[in-house]
């Protein structure tokens, strides 16, 4: 395996050589196709410049930044509790999951820990937002490949999960619920029974999608063997989450690091797939949605009683220091590097969002594929624009 710099050089040389070949031998010209920023397949404003030989991609380059909102800079003029309202908007489909690593980093700096009940509820909401996020991916996958029906099923069943999140937090997309030292509120009455029913519905939804999409021969022929990312390359490009596990790397931050969350209290499995192709990535996400419903079920059974808020001062001043906390978000590893100077707000926050790294492999993985595969590979890499541009 050549290293990264060499690969980039090779890619450039290959593009030049391909152009020369096109012009001299066939007397044809390549075509530069500008996919995006406004394009139905980029769910947002991602721009991908591809150079085509007929329908084959010679060279591809993603252009991010059309939706940059400057959250890293904005956090510097907010107090610590206010930051959660901002970072909600990074990965807008699984928004509660964005708050957790930041709050954990702040708690680490202040050296406090949320009470057990708060940790369990955090984990439940974390997994619920994962389900809400990935169930929409499973539906959207169909649309990217031309099947219009699954996405409506996804919206139908995601609605149940959003209702649950709303019943706890009051917000459907942007809960802003996590607090330093605990949570804003306790669970509402009847939440546990309702959640169990919804989890059953979601498992049915997974079965439906598995039958309708994953069992479909056209679907398989579109995704199997397409966009193969070997484990080595995946690691070099810093892929994380399902994209990495689909390449056969058994790496899941929920299991591999000790955080004050309740994952070690339940019995669950990290799914991996040896193939590393688009199908593997989609399949891993399907299994993870199912696994998440099982995690939620188990967490609901064992939820401890007690307070939901630790003792924190009314005005939160985070002591001087630096902390890095990352969690396994729906899209992959999401982390916050928080630097505090002892003020009300953070001095500097670096956000490591999963999609930005996941999308960086696009020039490597798109080379040599056909135009329809661009869409299926992008769909299977699963990015959210807010998560790329922050």
């Amino acid at each position: 395996m050549t290293d990264l710099a060499d690969r980039q050089k090779l890619s450039y040389i290959a593009a030049q050589a391909a152009d020369a070949r096109l012009n001299v031998e066939l007397e044809t010209e390549g075509m530069t196709l500008n996919i995006g920023p406004q394009h139905p397949a980029t769910h947002g404003t991602l721009r991908i410049i591809v150079r085509l030989d007929g329908e084959q991609v010679i060279w591809a380059e993603p252009g991010a930044g059309y939706m940059h909102r400057g959250y890293e800079k904005l956090t510097e003029v907010r107090t610590f509790p206010q930051v959660t309202a901002l970072v909600n908007r990074i990965d807008w489909l699984g928004s509660f999951a964005n708050e957790v690593p930041f709050i954990l980093a702040a708690e680490k700096l202040m050296d406090i820990e949320a009470p057990p009940r708060a940790q369990w509820i955090r984990t439940i909401l974390f997994e619920l937002s994962r389900i809400a996020n990935i169930s929409l991916f499973l539906g959207d996958l169909g649309v990217q490949l031309g099947a219009v029906t699954p996405v409506f099923m996804a919206f139908r069943d995601r609605e149940h999960v959003l209702n649950l999140i709303e019943s706890v937090t009051g917000g459907r997309f942007h809960p802003n619920f996590d607090r330093i030292g605990g949570l804003k509120d306790d669970l509402p009455a009847g939440f546990i029974a309702e959640t169990k029913q919804v989890m059953k519905k979601l498992r049915n939804f997974c079965d439906e999608i598995e039958n309708l999409l994953f069992g479909n021969e056209i679907f398989q022929s579109r995704l199997r063997g397409i966009g193969v990312i070997p484990a080595e390359v995946a690691k070099q490009y810093g892929l994380s989450g399902a994209n990495l596990r689909a390449s056969g790397v058994d790496w899941d931050l929920r299991r591999d690091q000790q955080l004050p969350l309740a994952y070690d209290k339940v019995d669950w499995k990290v799914w991996t797939h040896p193939d590393g192709d688009s199908f593997a990535r989609c399949w891993i996400r399907l299994q993870e949605t199912r696994e998440a419903t099982l995690i939620v079920d188990q967490l609901l059974d064992g939820i401890p009683s007690g307070p939901i808020m630790a003792k924190v001062p009314r005005i939160i001043k985070v002591p001087e220091g630096e902390a890095w906390v990352s969690t396994e978000n729906p899209l992959g590893e999401m982390g916050y590097y928080v630097v505090s100077k002892g003020d009300l707000g953070p001095f500097r926050v670096k956000i490591r969002s999963a999609s930005f790294n996941n999308i960086s492999i696009v020039p490597w993985v798109l080379r040599g594929v056909y135009v329809p595969d661009i869409i299926s590979i992008l769909a299977s890499l699963y990015f959210i624009l807010g998560d790329i541009d922050r």
């Binding site: 031309g146 029906t149 409506f152 056209i218």
Partner: protein
Amino acid sequence: MILAVDLPYWAQSLLRVLGGTVAVLLPAGTIVYLFLFKMMSFMQSRLGPMEAGPYGSLQLFAEVGKWLQKEDISPEHADKRIFRAAPLVVLVSTFLLVAVVPFGPDAYFTDFDAGVFYMLAVSSISTLGILMAGWSSANKYSLLGGLRAAGQLIAYELPMVLAVLGVVIQAGTMNLQTIVVKQNSDAIFGFDGLGNPYILTQFVGFMIFMIAVQAELTQTPFDMPIAESELVSGYMTEYSGFRFLIFFIAEFATAGVFALIASVLFLGGWGVPFSWFGWDAADTGSIDNWMNIVGPLIMITKMVVLAGIIMWVRFSYPRFREDQLQRFAWKVLIPVSLVNIMLTAILKVAF
């Protein structure tokens, strides 16, 4: 068209034009409302249009009104004349197709001896229109869509021709009217209670024909020319207003007309088994006059069933890739249809 009353030539022509318009637009409207609006919605656990008219039945007119109000934009660098003509070319092919479809013993536009040949030839004109639209739009997505359409439609013309050839061999004629009469008067192994609809004896041909129709119509497993998630809208990307509407109508009208043709070729067309009423196949004059009224209704029913199947597949399948589609056409459909023709010919001689 033989009518009981003598009409002057202009009145007959007017009737033909009116009849043709109805025969093209009625299937299109039926398909769009029944399947695109309602069946699709029910499959996707939603209601579909409910506001305009009872159960949204006037939604169609609302949509047409909306499209007619929109500005007719043509891109600056487009080849304007070709750009404007392209949708009409596509629609014309639909109208030309319906000209040979028989709706009843006397209810037809032309009784044409090479009907099947004409039908297969004329259906390719729409490809021309799509290629014109794709090239003249001066848009890379349109160009890719147009090229895909050309490649795909050429690849699927051949299996379609070969599938229809089986029917032609069995019927011994290319006249669509005679094919209908034959299907309703023939017998399967001496049993004439059902006639001999060719879907029974030419089932393989029917399947190939329907698959080829799906590709010809660029409906979903084969909708790469439009491919809204990849090519925005393929060859239709730059169209707006009533030119887009014409593309839209042509798409569904062609679906309806192909369903009509499939019902003529394989399901017995307008006919009922002649043995039920003691009609004589050799003498079409013996067929009762009311078949001219009932026949079109039977045709519409069969059209709805077949178009329903086309749409059902469209709503539930993902899309092939272009090279997979070509491979499927050349490596599966064409060999199978060739074998089908051989078997048909052998059996035709044997029995």
